[in-house]
């Protein structure tokens, strides 16, 4: 920073502070992610090793999904994120809106077993605007002491207040919870999105949610959700599997995961369009989505890596807690990001109104 002060000044002393601009673009990156245990897992397996290797410091910012903050930054012309960890529905939409830089899959390193990146990444995890990292899952979770006798085990139990009394934790956004409402009402997983697209189907899902509305507590972030479960504020909650698993294995909280009809989704790293540090950002993405960092991440959070070559590096005891473990995956539903991109606006608005009514 340069401080220029004219030596002679009659009425007032005029000092100009001339900032030398953001320190040369390549020695720092700002990455926005979902905070809590999840960011901690990225930090330990990807940010820290990258800093150790390249000397580039990484500033971590928490956000809560959605493109609102990023769009607001772009619209107001003050973009200060270089990389965002996004879910598929946001990646799709942000890509169409030109918020993200395009990715060239040929630039990604091959797996540590020599398989080229294009074959190493599971189908769908390479996107024109982002590189997949983990497969995570929307699951139901419960506080074990809240149910001393019969334990809830199915999606239907979440809506069954008679057999499983207690307050329910629901997210403040409609993703996954509407799908579960329909499935609990008897719709088969393969039919869920088709039914939900009809006005009657949507009404049916909301009617099912109405049955537990008076017992619902709403959470906004994954950290809040864990807090509500751990404090016994809610007995059963919609949840992200990795956060629950961390609370169980790291903090010895008496929580249990219900894998029945889990709804899985993927996260991606996307480089923000117009960032000053584009090259460094892509260096980071290539490093972080390599075989070893992705496998390392599973030690800190129970989300499955999207690279096939990472699988053999995961300890069996951890592998069993991932959404992709065969025992957990038997009737899993894939979150339909494209469907949500098309229908999301109206449903988000209605869900927000439903919350307040």
């Amino acid at each position: 920073m340069v401080i220029a002060c004219p030596k002679v000044s009659s009425a007032a002393v005029l000092c100009l502070l001339i900032a030398s601009g953001p320190a040369s673009a390549a020695d720092a990156l700002t990455i926005a992610s979902f905070g809590g245990q999840y960011t901690a897992s990225q930090s330990k397996s990807q940010y820290d090793p990258f800093t150790a290797r390249t000397g580039v410091t990484i500033k971590s910012v928490d956000y809560n999904g959605g493109l609102a903050e990023l769009t607001a930054q772009v619209r107001s012309g003050t973009v200060n994120w270089d990389i965002v960890d996004v879910e598929l529905q946001d990646l799709d939409r942000g890509c169409a809106d030109g918020l993200f830089e395009k990715v060239d899959p040929a630039q990604l390193p091959a797996g540590s077993d020599g398989v080229p990146a294009i074959k190493d990444f599971v189908a769908g995890s390479l996107h024109e605007c982002g590189v997949g990292t983990v497969i995570w899952s929307n699951v139901l979770a419960f506080s074990d002491p809240a149910f001393p006798d019969a334990k809830p085990s199915r999606v239907e139990d979440f809506f069954d207040l008679e057999r499983f009394p207690g307050r329910r934790g629901l997210p403040k956004r409609p993703h996954a919870i509407l799908e579960w409402a329909l499935m609990a009402d008897g719709v088969t997983p393969s039919e869920v999105y088709r039914v939900l697209a009809t006005p009657e189907g949507l009404d049916r899902a909301f009617a099912k949610l109405d049955t537990i509305k008076d017992h619902a507590v709403f959470w906004e972030t994954g950290a809040q959700m864990i807090q509500l479960l751990a404090d016994g504020e809610v007995a059963l909650s919609a949840a992200y599997n990795g956060r629950v698993q961390s609370a169980i294995s790291d903090d010895a909280k008496p929580l249990k995961i219900i894998w029945d009809r889990q709804i899985w989704n993927a996260d991606y790293y996307a480089v923000v369009a117009g960032t000053q540090a584009k090259n460094t950002a892509f260096d980071f993405v290539r490093f972080a989505t390599g075989t070893v960092p992705l496998a390392e991440q599973t030690k800190y959070i129970a989300y499955g890596p999207v690279r096939g070559s990472s699988q053999p590096l995961i300890a069996p005891v951890i592998a069993a807690t991932l959404p992709t473990a065969p025992a957990n995956f038997s009737n899993a539903l894939a979150f339909d990001a494209a469907w949500w991109t098309t229908h999301g606006d109206a449903i988000n608005e209605r869900y927000a109104a439903w919350l307040v009514q």
Binding site: E69, D97, D231, E233, D345, W354, Q357
Partner: protein
């Protein structure tokens, strides 16, 4: 120069403050007011359509405008704005995202295709009426939406369908909560302020310290402390359970609902009631009360006829302050209000940060501002007429 008026140098001294207020306070409010009726986003994305439809008589399907739409969509595709345009139009009319996406994709392949061939939606005159309306930069629809009213394709005003109706109820709920919080603050704050005014110096310092303590604690810390106290396995519930006053299944729901919002808001806002009232009470000469007593009035009568009326200005000032602050409360309801304890500000924040519907957020903010201005202007006058001024 008139000797009584401030000198030029004197004015120069207040200039920094005037400039600060203009930039940091008046300009944002003016922007907000403007945004609630001026929304040029679609106009900027569809300039040709706007021009073509501005002259249209509203009958049938305008052929000229179809070419303009084609050109606008092609440009939006080329500049990566098509997603934004589709989202923006979809907000005005559900289903337009699909139409825009399908059309833009087809136009990329075959630039010369007629719109009506791509999708029959383009032959619907209603669609063109909607387009004519939403491409105009000046609009009342945000203010209407903020009152749960929507505009149909042919321009009629109808109430929002029931599942999407919420703002009128929320405004009423917010006003009700503000009134209740003010009342509770008055009931708790009046005796407290009196105790402060009546006590000796050391006790007064202690009482003042206690009422100021919340001011020195961060809002977040206070809200978190209340969560610890009020939650189902919190201090209060555990205490009541241990004393056998409630059963395990009868734990009280004190937080994440309206009860939580009101408890915490009262705690946060109490000083704003106590302090103005205390300053009025402290300035009252004790001779009036003594005179009343010496003339034989019962203490209760003295209080009701002499002391209470003298403190009305403090009650009015504190009450107005608490009421107006309550109307805009945001952080506390967000943290402890759960579903039922949300207020109008939470919806404004939702549209600012999540749905990015800044026009609607501005319209809600404008209505809230108008309500506050109305109260600030009329309440003191009403109070005066009702004899609340001593």
């Amino acid at each position: 120069m008139n000797a009584a008026s401030p000198s030029r140098a004197g004015w120069a001294l207040v200039l920094p403050l005037v400039a600060f207020i203009a930039i940091a306070f008046l300009a944002p409010i003016a922007t907000m007011l403007l945004r609630s009726v001026h929304d040029p986003e679609i106009t900027d994305l569809m300039p040709r359509t706007r021009q073509a439809l501005a002259r249209w008589d509203g009958i049938g399907v305008p052929q000229m405008a179809a070419e303009a739409v084609t050109a606008d969509l092609q440009e939006a595709s080329a500049t990566n704005q098509i997603g934004r345009l589709a989202q923006r139009l979809n907000r005005e009319q559900n289903g337009l995202r699909r139409l825009i996406d399908v059309t833009a994709r087809e136009l990329e392949q075959n630039p010369d295709t007629q719109l009506a061939r791509i999708d029959p939606g383009w032959s619907d005159p209603d669609l063109w009426r909607i387009l004519a309306r939403v491409t105009s930069p000046w609009t009342g629809r945000h203010l209407l939406n903020a009152l749960d009213v929507t505009v149909t394709a042919d321009g009629a005003l109808v109430r929002q369908e029931e599942v999407r109706r919420l703002y009128v109820d929320l405004f009423l709920r917010t006003a009700w909560v503000a009134a209740l919080v003010t009342l509770i603050c008055a009931l708790l704050g009046y005796p407290y302020a009196y105790a402060m005014a009546a006590s000796g110096p050391s006790l007064r310092t202690l009482l003042l310290f206690l009422v100021l303590l919340p001011f020195w604690t961060s809002l977040l810390v206070r809200a978190t402390a209340w969560i610890v106290l009020l939650q189902r396995r919190g201090v209060i519930n555990e205490g009541l359970l241990a004393m056998g006053l409630i059963s395990e299944t009868g734990r009280l729901d004190l937080i994440y609902n309206m009860t939580g919002t009101i408890i915490v808001m009262v705690h946060v806002l109490l000083p704003f009631f106590v302090l103005p009232l205390y300053s009025v009470m402290a300035g009252l000469p004790t001779s009036y009360v003594r005179a009343s007593a010496s003339l034989g009035a019962h203490p209760l009568r003295t209080f009701a006829r002499v002391y209470l009326p003298l403190t009305y200005p403090g009650v009015a000032a504190g009450g107005l302050l608490v009421f107006i602050l309550s109307l805009g409360y945001y952080v506390t309801p967000a943290l402890v209000g759960g579903r039922t304890g949300q207020l109008i500000s939470n919806q404004i924040a939702f549209h600012m940060q999540r749905s990015l519907n800044w026009g609607l957020a501005a319209a809600l903010g404008t209505l809230l501002l108008l309500a506050v201005l109305l109260l600030a202007l009329t309440l003191p006058r009403l109070a005066e007429r009702g004899g609340l001024r001593a």
